[in-house]
Symmetry: D2
Subunit: 405 residues, 4 copies
C-alpha cells in the first residue's frame, strides 16, 4: 500500500466536510487527538486501519464559498478551536482546490435554494461521466492508493422508493433514458463512485445503496457500502436509552422529541418533504428497539441562532409497576459537525479495511454509526456496538494468525 487514502466528500464545503478535513489535518500536525473516533479505541488498534493523517481530501459541491470560509464560520461559533483552524488552513485550502462542481440533478427546491444555483441541465449519462472523470482526476492528481466516497449532501425531499431501481439493469436503463423520475443526484453520485471502484458511505438520509439497483452494482463491482444517516445526537441517545425501558419491562406511553438546529442542514429541512424524510428515519428507532408500536413524536425545527449547535429535548413518558406513570427528560446540546466528522473518518477507515479484506455489500458491522443501518435491523446501541467489537476482534484474530505464519 503506497500513496495516501483518498476521501471524496459529496457536499465538500459543508460544515461536516470542513470539520473532517480540519480534524484530519490537526491530527497530522499534532494539534488534536483522536477523541470522538470510535476506531481509535484500543479494540481497533490491531486492525491496520489507515490513519487520518494519511488521508487526502477532495469532493463535489454545488454551493459557493470555500472550505476555509466554512471552517472560519465554525471556529467563530466554537465548533473548531482557533488552534486547529490555524494549523489546518493550508490543508483546507488544498482540499478546497480539489473541489469540483457537483450536480443538482432532480434536486428538491430546498437544496437548490440553498445552493443558489440553477437546476442541472445535463443529462444523467453526461453527469455520471463528469463525476467519474472528477474521481479519476482526484486519484491521479493525489496519487491516492484508493478512494472512498462519502455522502454529506443536504437532505433531499424526494423519495424514489425501492421499486424505482429494482436492478442494476434498471439503473443503467434509467440513466440511459435520462429518466429523472427514477434518479436523484445522490443516485448518480453513488453510481459514479461504484463504477469507479469506490466504496460508498451514505452519511445522510438520502436514498442510495439500499436501493436494489445500486446494491446490485456494488455487489457486481465487489464493493462494500454503508449507510444511512449518521447517528450523532438525539437519535443516538434514544437508541441508548430505549433498551433501558425494554429491559426493565417498563411501558413507554409516549416518546416525544424536539430537535432545534440552525445550520444549513436545518435550513434544508425547512422543506417539508426533506423534513418528513429525516423525521421518519429518526422516529422509527424507539418502536424498533422496544419491539412494539409506541406513540412517538419527532420534530426538527430550524432555529437560525443555534447554528451548528443542535439542542434536542426528549420526554419519555412511561408506566411502571401497577401502572404508576413517570417520566424521563433529556436535553442534548451538541455541535453537529464535531459529532459527525470523527464518524466520517471512522467509516472511511472501515470501508477501506473492508475493501482490502475483500468484503463486499452492506457493512453490517457499521450499523452503530447509522440511524437506518442498511442490512441490519437492530437499533439497540449496545448490541450494535457489540457487533462492531466482534468484527474488530475476529478481524484482529485473522491478522494475528496470518502474521504468525
Amino acid at each position: 500500500m503506497t500513496g495516501p487514502l483518498g476521501v471524496w466528500l459529496l457536499g465538500a464545503r459543508g460544515s461536516v466536510a470542513a470539520t473532517t478535513v480540519a480534524g484530519a489535518a490537526a491530527i497530522r500536525r499534532g494539534v488534536a487527538d483522536r477523541t470522538g473516533l470510535v476506531t481509535a479505541l484500543p479494540a481497533f488498534s490491531g486492525l491496520g486501519l489507515a490513519d487520518p493523517s494519511e488521508m487526502v481530501f477532495g469532493g463535489h459541491e454545488v454551493r459557493g464559498g470555500t472550505l476555509p470560509e466554512e471552517a472560519e464560520g465554525l471556529a467563530g461559533a466554537g465548533g473548531i478551536p482557533p488552534a486547529v483552524l490555524a494549523a489546518a488552513r493550508a490543508d483546507l485550502e488544498a482540499a478546497d482546490a480539489r473541489v469540483r462542481p457537483g450536480t443538482l440533478y432532480g434536486a428538491g427546491d430546498g437544496v437548490r435554494a440553498l445552493a443558489g444555483a440553477p437546476a442541472e441541465r445535463r443529462g444523467a449519462r453526461e453527469v455520471v461521466e463528469a463525476l467519474r472523470a472528477d474521481l479519476r482526476a482526484f486519484r491521479a492528481g493525489t496519487g491516492a492508493r484508493f478512494v472512498v466516497v462519502v455522502n454529506l449532501c443536504s437532505t433531499d425531499a424526494r423519495r424514489l422508493g425501492p421499486s424505482a431501481l429494482p436492478s442494476a439493469e434498471a439503473l443503467e436503463d434509467a440513466i440511459a433514458r435520462d429518466d429523472s423520475g427514477r434518479l436523484s443526484a445522490v443516485v448518480l453520485y453513488a453510481t459514479a463512485a461504484l463504477q469507479e471502484g469506490c466504496p460508498f458511505v451514505n452519511f445522510t438520509p438520502a436514498e442510495a445503496t439500499e436501493l436494489p439497483g445500486l446494491a446490485a452494482l456494488a455487489a457486481a463491482r465487489g464493493l462494500p457500502h454503508c449507510g444511512k444517516d449518521g447517528k450523532t445526537g438525539e437519535t443516538l441517545v434514544k437508541t441508548v436509552l430505549a433498551p433501558l425501558f425494554r429491559d426493565r419491562h417498563l411501558k413507554v406511553l409516549s416518546w416525544s422529541g424536539v430537535n432545534l438546529l440552525g445550520n444549513r442542514d436545518g435550513e434544508a429541512l425547512r422543506d417539508p418533504g426533506a423534513n418528513a424524510a429525516k423525521v421518519s428515519d429518526k422516529d422509527q428507532v424507539v418502536a424498533k428497539v422496544l419491539g412494539e408500536p409506541t406513540p412517538s413524536l419527532t420534530r426538527i425545527d430550524y432555529v437560525r441562532s443555534l447554528g451548528d449547535w443542535k439542542t434536542a429535548w426528549d420526554l419519555v413518558h412511561f408506566a411502571g409497576f401497577l401502572g404508576v406513570r413517570m417520566s424521563l427528560q433529556f436535553t442534548w446540546q451538541g455541535c453537529d459537525s464535531a459529532l459527525a466528522a470523527p464518524l466520517v473518518l471512522d467509516l472511511v477507515r472501515l470501508a477501506d479495511l473492508a475493501h482490502r479484506r475483500g468484503e463486499k455489500g452492506p457493512m453490517r458491522h457499521a450499523a452503530v454509526f447509522f440511524k437506518t443501518p442498511v442490512g441490519a435491523e437492530d437499533h439497540d446501541f449496545a448490541r450494535q456496538m457489540g457487533m462492531l467489537l466482534e468484527y474488530a476482534a475476529s478481524t484482529a484474530d485473522v491478522r494475528k494468525t496470518s502474521r504468525g505464519r
Copy 2:
C-alpha cells in the same frame, strides 16, 4: 414444591414493602399486570419461576404504623392506584399481622430517630435468636415451602469495613462477645436469615453478605445471596448512558448528579454518614463504566414535599472531536417504591430459583439489579442485562434437556 413462597421483608412497613405486598396481591387478584418485573419478560418464561401470586409476606420492622396506612399514604401521593389499594387491603392487613419487632442493634441516629424507638438493649446473641425464631414461626404459620429474606431497611450510617468480620468464626466470635463495634443490625438480620437457611437479598446500601464473615456463612449453608442497593433510578440511567460516552470515544469532563427525594429513605439520608454511604455507592459507577478516573459529583438531598417521587437531575459535560465541549442533561422523575417493588419480586424469584438449582454464593447474574453488585465488577447496564439473559437461556436449556429425558 407445595406451599407458598415466603418473603420476609426487613423494613416491613416501609414504602417499598407496602408496594411489594400490594403489588403481589393485585397480581393475584387480577387488578394489575406484571409491568416492571424484569422476570416477567418472555426470556424468563421457561424457568419455572415462582409467581408473585404464590408469595406470602411477613417481616421485621422497628417503626410504628401499619402496612395499610403506609399503602394509603402512597395511594394519596399517586404511588399506588386506588383500585390496587382496594384489592390489596386484606393482604396488607394479613402481612401486617405477621410483622415482628426488628432490632436497632448499633443503629445510627438517623434510623433511631425515624423509628422513634429506644436503642436495642438485648445482646447480639439474644437478638439473633429472636430473629431466627420469628423466621421459623413465619414459615410454620404460613406453611411456606421456602423463605427468602429481603433487606429494605433505611440506610445506616456506620461502616464496619471488610476487615471487621474476616471469617465465619469472626462473626460467631463478635456475636458471642456482643461486640457492637463489629456488628450492625443488618449483620444480625443476615446472620439469622442464613442460619435459618434463607437466601439474603440486600436491596439497601448496608454492609451485608459482601462482608467475608457473612459470605462464608452463606457458603457454609449452601445459600445464594445478592446485593447491594437496588438500582432503580438515577444510577440506573447513569449505567445506561455512560457506555455511550465510552463507546463513542467521547471524553467525560464531569458528571454531576443531584437527587431530591422526600420519603423516609431521604430522611434517613439527612444523617451525613448515611448520605456518604449512599452517595459513595452511586458515585463510583461512572468511573467504573468509563474505565478511567472521572470527576463526578453526586448529591442526595431531602426535599420533604417530593415524598416518594424522586427527582434527579444530571449534567454530563463532555468533550468531543477537536476538544469541542458539549453537554447532556437529564431529569428523572420516578416513584421510588413503584420502581423498587417489582425488582424485589424479581430477586425473590431468582433467589428461590438459584436455591432450587443448588447455586450458592453471590448471584452474579443479578448484577443488573444493584448499584454495587456483589461478585460482579461490570456496571455497564447492557452487559449486566446480557449476563442475566445468558443465565436465563442456559438455565432454560438445562430444564429443557432434563425434561426431555
Copy 3:
C-alpha cells in the same frame, strides 16, 4: 343582592368546567381552600366579590358524557383529589342536569369530530333564540340574581377577522341572513349572552368580543366583557421571564417553545387551523414584551398519554455582554384544568363586580388572565398584575368612602 350567582359554561362537560364546578363545591363544603384563586389574595378582600360557594352552574355542551364522568376521569389522572370528587359529586350531578345542547354552527372538523355530532342544521337566528331561552330558563330555574357566561369550548380553526362583523348592525344582518361565512358558534353564543344581559368571558382563543360587532353589542347593553385565551401555563411563564431579558438588556436570539398535551383541547388542536390560531396567540407575547421582532417558535403537539398534564419545554437563546451566547431552558409540568379553573372563578367574580359597579366594555384590568388581552396591549406579567392590583385598590377606596358616608 339575593340569589346565587349564575355561571353558564360553554363547553360545560369539559375538563375545565368539571374542575370549576367541583372546585366551587369543594370550597363550599370545606374540603378545599382557595389556592390558585388570584382574587382570594388579601388585596381583593375588601371588594365584596361573590364567593365561589355562592355560585350555581349550568351550560351548553355539544358532546356526550356527563360532568361526573369527566370529573372521575380527571381524578383518575390526579387532576382532582378523591376527597374533592366525593364531596362534589352531588353538585356535579346537579350542574350536569342543567346542561343544554350547544351548537356546532360553522364549527371546524376538529370540533365536530370530537363532538361526534352532526353539523348544526338550524339557522343562526333560531340558534340564538334557543341559546337565549336556555339562559333565561337557567336563571329562572336557579333563582340566580345574575348570570356570567364563560366560554370554555375547544379551539375552532376558522378565522372570521375583524372586518367580518364591523358593527352591531352587521352582526344583526349576518344573523338575519344566516350568513355562516361571517358567523361562528362562539359569535352566536356571545350574541345570546349579551342579548340576555350577561357579561361574556372568553377563556379560549376563539374570536368573540374583540370583534367590533360584538363589542358594540356589549357596549349597547352596558356589559363588561373580557378575553381571550386564559394564560395558564407556558405562555404565563413566558410573560414572566421575557421582561428579565428586556430589563437586563440581554438580546434574545430565539425563543423556542414546545407544548405537549393529550386532553380534548390538544385533540382539537390536531386540526392544523385550530393549532395555527392557538400558536399565534402564544407566539406573539415575547416580541410584544421585548418590543422588537424576535425569532420565536411555538409548537403544540398532541401526546395522548399526557392527558390533561401539559408538559412544555422552552429554550431561550440569548446574547449578553460582548455578544457571548447563553441559554435558559424551562420545563413546565402542569395540570391544565387545575390551572384554568380558579381563573374562571376569578373572572366570574370580577365580571360580576364590574357589572355591579356599572363598568362596561373590555375589562382591561383583567389582562393578566389572558394570552391576548382585549383592550390592553401590555403582555408583561408584572405590569398586568400591577394594573389589577391598582383596580382593586381604587375600587376598595371607593367602597370605603361610600360606606363611610
Copy 4:
C-alpha cells in the same frame, strides 16, 4: 468634569475584572455594543451618565498572573470573543500595570490558598494607609476626575456580624488596635475607599457597607454606596419567577436549586464557610418574595470543567387549585463574567451619578443589581426594576428642569 472616570477594582485580575476592562475597551474601540448594560437602555439616556469609554481602570490584587492572561483564558472558553481580546489587549496591559498588591488581612484559607500568598503581616492601620496611597497614586497618575471602588474579591468565609463594628468610632478603634477579630480585608478596603472619598460598590457577598461602622463612615464622608452580591444568574431568575407563584396564589411546596461552576469563585466556595455565606444570600430570596416561610434548598458545587460557565438547575414544586401538585424546572447556562461585567459598569455609572447629585448612603435604587440589596427589602425583580426606572425618570426630570432655567 474633566478627566476620565477612575474605576478601582478589588480582585483586579479576576475574570469579572478582565471582562469589565476588556468590555469597556471594546466599546471605546467600537468592536462591541452595550448589550447587557442596564444603563444603556433608553430610559437612562437623559441622565448624563459617564460612558464606559471614558473609564480608566486599576485595582488591588493578591494573586499572581496578569489581566491579559486572564482575558486569554476567558477567550479560550468562549467568555470573551477573539476580536474583543485583540482590540482590548493594550488596555488590558495598561490596566494591569496599574494593579497594586492587595491585602489578605484576616482572609480565610480558601482565599489564601487561591492566592498562593502568605498571610498579611502588616497591621491594620498600615494596610489601610497603603491602600489609600494606592488610590491616590491611581487618581494622580491617570488624571481621573473621580474614582469609584468596586469589590470583586473572592468570597471570604468569615462573618463579623453587625455588632462587630457598631459605629465609625468602633471601626477606627478596631483599626487602631489591629483587632483582626473585628476586621476583614474587605473592611479595610472599604475603609480606605471611603476615607479617600470613593463610593464603594460591593459586588460580592462579603460584609462591607451594611456594617454600621462602614455605613457611618460613608455617611460622614457624604458618599453613596451599594451592595451586596451581584444578582447575575440563578438568583436573578428566582426573583423573576417567584412573583408568578405569589401573584397566581400558587403554593410553593419547595424550591430546590443547584449551582455548578468551575471558576475561581467556585473554588473559593469549596471552603464550607464561604459556601455557607454565599448560599445564605441566595437562599433567602424566595421566602422574602413569597412573604412566607418556604422550604428551600440551595447548593453551590465546584465542577472544574465548567469554568466560568455556571449551570444551574432549579426545581419548583408547587400546589395549585384543589391541592394538585405541579412543577417548574429551569436550567440556566450562563457565563458568569459576561453577566457580571456590564453590571459593574452600570454600578460605576450610577455611583458616579449619585455622587455628582449629592446623594449619600445606600443606593436603594440599585437594589435590582444585588442578591442582598443594602437598604431595600424587596426582592421582587419587577418591583426593583420599577424603583430604578422611577429614579431614572425623576432624575431626568430634574435635569430637564434645571437645563430649562
